[in-house]
Symmetry: C2
Subunit: 311 residues, 2 copies
């Protein structure tokens, strides 16, 4: 029986690292800088060195380590190779292979959004469930799908890319992906601001949102204060996201949706607006699907990465 | 090494039965009547007796049988129990358990749409793939999702229920499920007729569809003959289905969509209209997802049922 595992979350500016026991208790947590200069060729050796240092520091036997799990910001194939990761200046990188060569420890690799979903299933908002969809409402809308306790990667690494589900035929601006009318354009932090500015321009209603800069936070603060225009914006947000998550249920029928990311800091008011529309568009059997807020924040990645190596 | 398996597809009027070798060659194929009278309590004993008779007739050793796979028209839980099957007059039935008791042979049970998808993956339009979404365009729109060669059942047995993805806010009639604007209302055989009749009423264009009764077949026959109004109907159908399948890709990212059911008898013209819209709403990595017609017809169920017991 192995005792320990490492969870590594490689981001564009920092690499988050965690040492866990196999029950999922975090024993140590630290960060190193992501040296993405050049072709990002220092990143893997830096991570390997950080792990070796921690192993020495803690006096751990390598034989007691279940493995190293790594989350990366880009699509990953089934062999654990990164197809591309723009923020790391990486093209195709055999991350699992290189890490195993440097450390002699079994390594598994996943896309960061999928890995975060696995972390929330293990020790976060989805704890106790095996079929979980995580939705991250940040600058964009990310997603991760866990079926039977495992990440659904997809045939082109696009499993769980729910931010690019089409929800609005009338959208005139293109999404970052090049298409028009993606969920991300109306349900991310940026999307909420877009909806609010549109409403402010089209309506003559008074609103606290007319004073100062509009952000997802000011919109949901105004909703909590009963601002009528902000509430209309929240209804639109809820309709887009609730309808899209109903479509997700029509495909994978999860036990629970876990909602994270900056927008979710507004709290359960978000879930109320989403559920209101969700129930209109799912089969009776699914009207009771649970909704919860994510609880691990920026640590979801290291938890999920560690979980990948424990079966 | 086991040599044989049975694939059973229980429908409301007949039970289709197949004896296969484990390579997937059908050795015998027959039907019995579905005696659904009462609470359908004769169905399982009838199927068990049919299997016992076939085993004797062929002189097969039970030790050489990998198992019995059964598809049923209703949701099935992970233990192989049927939650409910209206057409069989069944409430909760422990089908796997009862069949094993009667025959002494390992039994696996799945929902019929999911089982058909597995059949098409094994020996039909999706052969050679492990991540397959099957869409059945019949009276309704059914779906089945295969990930890594296995059926995605869903937490409430609603995995792959893509006929109830919401696609039309302006739909005034309720769907059979009670919601409004489901894919099934506009992309099934019935849905195509609905779209055609709506177009005929709203437009003053001449069309061969104004003569005689409108069906999905007459619509797509008219499309092939270049009828302009019928082509507009096909565009609408393609937009609804193509956009919905793009959403499916944003969730599970399959290698291939396999399209079956009565409407698909129109042939590859269906795929052309669907793909035209699909590519607008998926990420670049997924624009090359394959589309194929189903090839097993009514036999998909027995193939998929048999496949369930072979790992």
């Amino acid at each position: 029986m192995k005792k320990y595992c490492f969870g590594i979350d490689i981001g564009g500016t920092t690499v988050k690292c965690g040492l866990f026991d196999v029950q999922g208790n975090v024993l140590d947590k630290w960060e190193i800088k992501t040296r993405s200069e050049g072709n990002g060729e220092n990143i893997i050796p830096d991570v390997a060195a950080a792990i070796e240092t921690k192993i020495s520091e803690k006096g751990i036997e390598k034989a007691d380590i279940a493995g190293i799990g790594v989350g990366v910001p880009g699509p990953v194939n089934e062999e654990g190779a990164v197809v591309t990761a723009v923020n790391l200046h990486w093209g195709y990188v055999d991350l699992a292979g290189e890490m195993e060569k440097l450390t002699g420890i079994t390594t598994k690799v996943g896309n960061d959004a999928n890995v975060a979903a696995l972390g929330e299933m293990w020790k976060g908002g989805g704890e106790g469930h095996k079929n979980v969809v995580m939705v991250t409402l940040g600058t964009g809308v990310g997603g991760g799908i866990i079926i039977g306790g495992k990440i659904l990667t997809g045939s082109h690494g696009a499993g769980g890319e729910i931010g690019h589900i089409h929800v609005e035929d009338k959208m005139d601006k293109p999404c970052g992906c090049g298409n028009k009318g993606c969920l991300e354009q109306v349900a991310s932090a940026t999307g909420v601001v877009y909806l609010a500015n549109k409403k402010l321009a089209e309506s003559s209603m008074s609103s606290v949102l007319r004073e100062g800069e509009v952000s997802a936070k000011t919109v949901f603060d105004a909703v909590k204060a009963g601002d009528a225009l902000a509430c209309e914006v929240a209804e639109e947000f809820g309709k887009y996201l609730g309808t899209a998550l109903a479509s997700v249920t029509g495909v994978v029928d999860p036990e629970i949706f876990v909602i994270g990311g900056g927008v979710s800091k507004a709290g359960t008011v978000i879930l109320d607006y989403v559920k209101k529309y969700y129930v209109n568009y799912v089969l009776d059997a699914c009207k009771g699907t649970e909704f919860a807020l994510a609880t691990l924040g920026n640590d979801a990645g290291i938890y999920g990465a560690a979980r990948m190596v424990i079966e």
